[in-house]
Amino acid sequence: MAPTPENTPAGPVLKLAQPLPLDSGRSLAGVQIAYETYGNLNADKSNAILICHALTGDQHVASPHPITGKPGWWIRMVGPGMPIDTDRFFVICSNVIGSCMGSSGPASMAESGAPYGMTFPVITIRDMVRAQVALVDALGIGKLHAVVGGSMGGMQALSWAANFGDRIDAALIIASTSRHSAQNIAFHEVGRQAIMADPKWNGGDYYSEGGEDPRKGGPESGLAVARMAAHITYLSEQGLTEKFGRRLQDRDAKTFGFDADFQIESYLRYQGLSFTDRFDANSYLYITRAMDYFDLAEEHGGKLADAFRGTKARFCLVSFDTDWLYPTSESRTIAHALNAAGHPVSFMELSSPFGHDSFLLDNDDLDRVVKGFIR
């Protein structure tokens, strides 16, 4: 019998009755999956779309975060009358396991009664998808009309197609990749080392008892540096130059010191600091690790096309010309592997000055493609 979701102040949460088996060989007991839904599931349950979020995203894709009050992260794409139209589709978005927005992660309580910290098992993209499959099962949905994701969300959409291909009709993968490159891993390692070099990380054991936020007193400096480094990879040189150039921050001349003289420095510091208010450092370690481990071809005998043998889904891959984190060549490789194996697939590179983050920003071509592909 499917478990019943429970409502919490942060939205519905599904508690799995059975331990979730993981790629590492371990399993995770007492898994909680926090999620949001929008629109209505139709009578034959054929209009469900799962949206997969990126590294630091959450389930609040199209509605204000119940705690921070911030608007949903993809309101320009998901909602009534939007390209992913919630008047027509039942949209589901769940927080990935390993994260810190209500789903089980390193900050969750272990059976010992203390937070997992580094005793939380290392998870993979496929493990995140396994949790989503359990959620879709619990919602009584046999087959998803589509799985949609950008960046790490795209990896999940690919993993759905590769591992649960008979459960989806279509996969839309935006600004993503089938494997993490050496450069991708390198940037993540910089972030992880920044966190682990912060004395307050304390081997991952930093959660305080009581108080409003158990993360307070954690490795905030390290996490902020990790976010700063990562944030650069989400933008393009062109975008940075247009937005900041060499302009100085609230001053007329250089100070001959190490204050944030330049606007870009001030901007990055702000991005780093504000990130620590909403994200858990250990979750950052676990999720970046899951992304680094992602290699869809390796999971399927070394040949990417073989990964998609079990699916009849339609595919659409979209890249952006200024995205150097997951460049166009990655999407093209996936698209040609699918095409060569006879799958219905579309691929296009869209133009945008905003680098990897383009998928979250206004782009008429993207809207048209998403709307046309989802149908």
Binding site: A340, P344, V345, S346, M348, E349, L350, R368, G372
Partner: protein
């Protein structure tokens, strides 16, 4: 990749060269349209039950195709045909594309590697109006057939029907059928190289 149509289409109808191709592809066939533009032919083929895919260089055209529910890859015929496996479709189509590529001969070879049969349509540079324009005006022709000036035309390898037949002969390719058009209407086979504005060939190597 898809220059302005050189064959006039009646609004709401398929361009005549595309109509010929659509009419001669059997339902259920697998088709690759190289330089598919906004998907006019793909849509017609899909409507008759074909598994029709496209390759197109212009992202706005690709977005338009995906917006109509078609499966299209953005790419350059000169480089991206290499990704397509041998004999992976029943027909490959080059409609108004051959003359825009850097190496039309290699494109043609790829066409018949990917598919046992190919449709190739192109504007005929030996049409009498073009000849007259060049002979009398002494300038590269800008006609209804070739509407763009030499310096900005996407047609970088103009060819004639006779040129195309010579290339086929040189490469051991057989023209299974050919169709000619003038003013958007079918025109006769005789003296086609002089009288036809546009040609469609069905080619094969068997």
């Amino acid at each position: 990749m898809s220059p302005p149509a050189t064959v006039e289409a009646t609004p709401g109808q398929l361009r005549p060269d595309l109509a010929v191709i659509a009419d001669h592809v059997e339902p259920g066939a697998r088709v690759l349209d190289i330089g598919c533009g906004d998907g006019e032919l793909l849509a017609a083929l899909t409507a008759k039950g074909c598994d029709a895919r496209g390759l197109e260089i212009d992202p706005t055209n690709v977005a338009a195709c995906v917006g109509r529910g078609l499966s299209v890859m953005q790419g350059d015929a000169d480089t991206d045909l290499a990704y397509y496996p041998d004999k992976s479709v029943d027909y490959a189509v080059l409609s108004q594309t051959l003359q825009t590529t850097r190496r039309p001969d290699l494109i043609l070879e790829n066409l018949l590697r990917i598919a046992p049969r190919g449709f190739v349509s192109f504007p005929n540079f030996a049409h009498w109006r073009v000849r007259a324009s060049l002979m009398l005006g002494g300038k590269m022709p800008v006609t209804k057939l070739i509407p763009v000036a030499w310096y900005e035309t996407p047609n970088i390898h103009h060819l004639t029907i006779a040129d195309f037949r010579a290339l086929l002969a040189e490469r051991g390719i057989r023209a299974e059928r050919s169709w000619y058009f003038t003013g958007g209407q079918p025109s006769r086979q005789r003296f086609a190289n002089l009288t036809a504005e546009h040609a469609v060939f069905l080619v094969t190597r068997d």
